[in-house]
Symmetry: C2
Subunit: 367 residues, 2 copies
């Protein structure tokens, strides 16, 4: 397996020192920043995540900050989700689309106040799109990347660990809401969110210099909870149907193809740049869509390129994320499947580097 070559361009994070001390074994690059992928092994990390609590360096979820009188207007231009009812203290998962309705990112929008927003981005330089739009439309808004690095605390013991560091009030944060909590004299936004189905929080760490103090505080407080350094887990996120921008969808896809139609209010999202382009697909539905697919046979290798999906010798889609699930004793995967074959129970074949595997479209994701 080739090594990763470090350079300043692959940005380190406020927590890299802790990640290294914890023995990180693998990295990917996400928003030009290092994102750990393995500590013990993907399977051991998965077991631990499902039974204990982990601290994840997800600094790579960079923030795009919108600040100024046109911030809310700009935010609505970016997404077909109707944001009129959104209150400060809420987080919304928002598909971001270009003028053709193609997805540019699938971030979480964080509304700090009416004129101040963070967009907690997936893997694309959304900052550049937002800056370009703000400039082209001459909006009265500042757009930049602040010194904010999310740290996730995930797993069934997340509430207990967080309460020890931030107090019992963290237990009251509801799903996809955030509140402000003090740490070493700083006010930090803490949201109940994260890229797993095991429950937990994301701490928006503002100010790199408090990164390691917070990291260390969490590990000290959680020793008897068997807290470990972790990272988004490939197996668990596929079991949970958590999509990955760049893997499971690209700017070729509409939100509707990605099963994100429920986050689109195309008729009422007035001002959204991609609205016109999406009206038809919003009404008539897409011709292909994301589906969970169970792949039979031995454990498949890592999915590093789209694997074609066939039915009766005809190509009907592709698989873009796959892993062996120890809990479900099958290969779990995420694919984009044509309308003709997307019904649950449909038998298909997936062409992997190890050969053709029989597979079945599932009704729902595994967890």
């Amino acid at each position: 397996m080739p090594q990763i070559s470090f350079s300043r361009r692959l940005r380190r994070t406020p927590f890299s020192e802790g990640v290294e001390a914890a023995g990180v074994k693998g990295y990917t690059v996400y928003n030009r920043m290092l994102l750990p992928t393995v500590f013990q092994s993907v399977e051991a990390d998965y077991r631990h995540l499902k039974s204990h609590v982990q601290v994840w360096d997800v600094s790579c979820e960079r923030q795009v900050e919108l600040r100024g009188p046109d911030a809310a207007k700009l935010m609505q231009m970016l997404t077909p989700r109707d944001l009129r009812g959104m209150l400060p203290g809420q987080c919304f998962y928002v598909p971001i689309v270009d003028e053709t309705g193609g997805m540019l990112n699938d971030p979480v929008a964080v509304k700090l106040s009416d004129d101040r927003w963070w967009i907690s981005i997936a893997d694309s330089d959304l900052l550049l799109w937002v800056k370009g739009i703000a400039n082209g439309y001459r909006l009265d808004v500042l757009v930049d990347e602040p010194d904010v690095s999310p740290l996730a605390v995930q797993g069934p013991m997340a509430d207990d660990l967080m309460a020890r560091v931030f107090g019992d009030r963290v237990r009251d944060i509801r799903f996809f809401k955030f509140d402000m909590f003090e740490f070493q004299g700083r006010d930090l936004a803490v949201a109940r969110s994260g890229y797993s189905k095991q429950g937990g929080f994301e701490i928006y760490v503002e100010g790199s210099e408090i990164g390691m103090p917070l990291w260390n505080a969490l590990f000290t407080a959680g020793e008897d909870l068997e807290v470990r350094a972790g990272c988004p887990n490939l197996i668990e996120r596929i079991e949970g149907g958590l999509l990955s921008y760049g893997n499971d969808m690209t700017d070729d896809n509409t939100p509707h193809e990605c099963g994100l139609g429920k986050f689109c209010n195309t008729h009422t999202a007035i001002g959204c740049i991609g609205r016109d382009a999406l009206l038809r697909v919003a009404k008539e539905g897409p011709v292909q869509q994301i589906r969970p697919i169970a792949i039979e046979g031995e454990a498949v290798p890592p999915c590093d390129r789209p694997w074609p999906v066939f039915a009766d010798g005809k190509r009907v889609g592709q698989v873009t994320s796959a892993a062996w699930s120890p809990d479900f004793q099958t290969n779990v995967s995420i694919g984009m499947i044509r309308l003709s074959h997307w019904d649950a129970g449909t038998a298909v074949e997936v062409e992997t580097p190890d050969g053709m595997h029989r597979a079945t479209v599932q009704e729902r994701f595994w967890i």
Copy 2:
């Protein structure tokens, strides 16, 4: 050293199969695509590059294509370099700046015709900035990423190898010009350019399916020239003063700070979005600038974060790329140094992970 974890999101290239067969040992990620960094060793690759010829998979230099009546207008909006005199068949190195004059990329612009351009980008999603601007200003232009993957042929024997595959006419291409050459029924743009000082070409391979046929044709034709798979070489590019966006400069820096003032015609580049912001620095000059810095002592470790540069105990800059040079028997490096200390011969100190090293600002880069 941690491994890189593969996924579809870290895009493979039309040449990945050849790169793997050649035994690639290290990767970086560049524009969300795999870029090889080592084959034998960085030093062995360096020796070979300087004496023979290498074929480089630089597909990660993605193209942003501008097509339509407003293409030239849009291109000029992006850069402070005056493009009025640029002819089809020319390549221009163009700093791209935002409305504050901060660098967003330092690509090569390729003028195919008056209404069709490619921007061969460094590591940032420039596509999103260009699409945002085109949309915001309602320009009559298509902006997208075509299926074009550059393959570089670099080294002193590059002309000989290329002539065997494309005919002797390639020898006539002048520096930073391109011409069209036929390969297996396709017309490909071939430019005399590349990210080394050893001479050579970049082939803009249009159509992924001819990637491996071309790769194989080059290796078959070059067997007796000892052609090898290679990649941009850290040592050689620092010796040659070839900057790396994301390493040596970011959107914090103006082109003038990067020593790219000679590529700016701020007064006549009418329409450039960052023009107003750059007028003052163009006249008065920057307060810090890129400099070659020789670092004394043992070979330094990889520079994976900015290393502070001091003089008389005061911080006067930072080093962002560094490597031991076998040919010059010193550590060669690229730094950004304050005006007060940027004169050639100035003694400074560089704080590396291995401790403080004495260093000297150089008059010019090494090659």
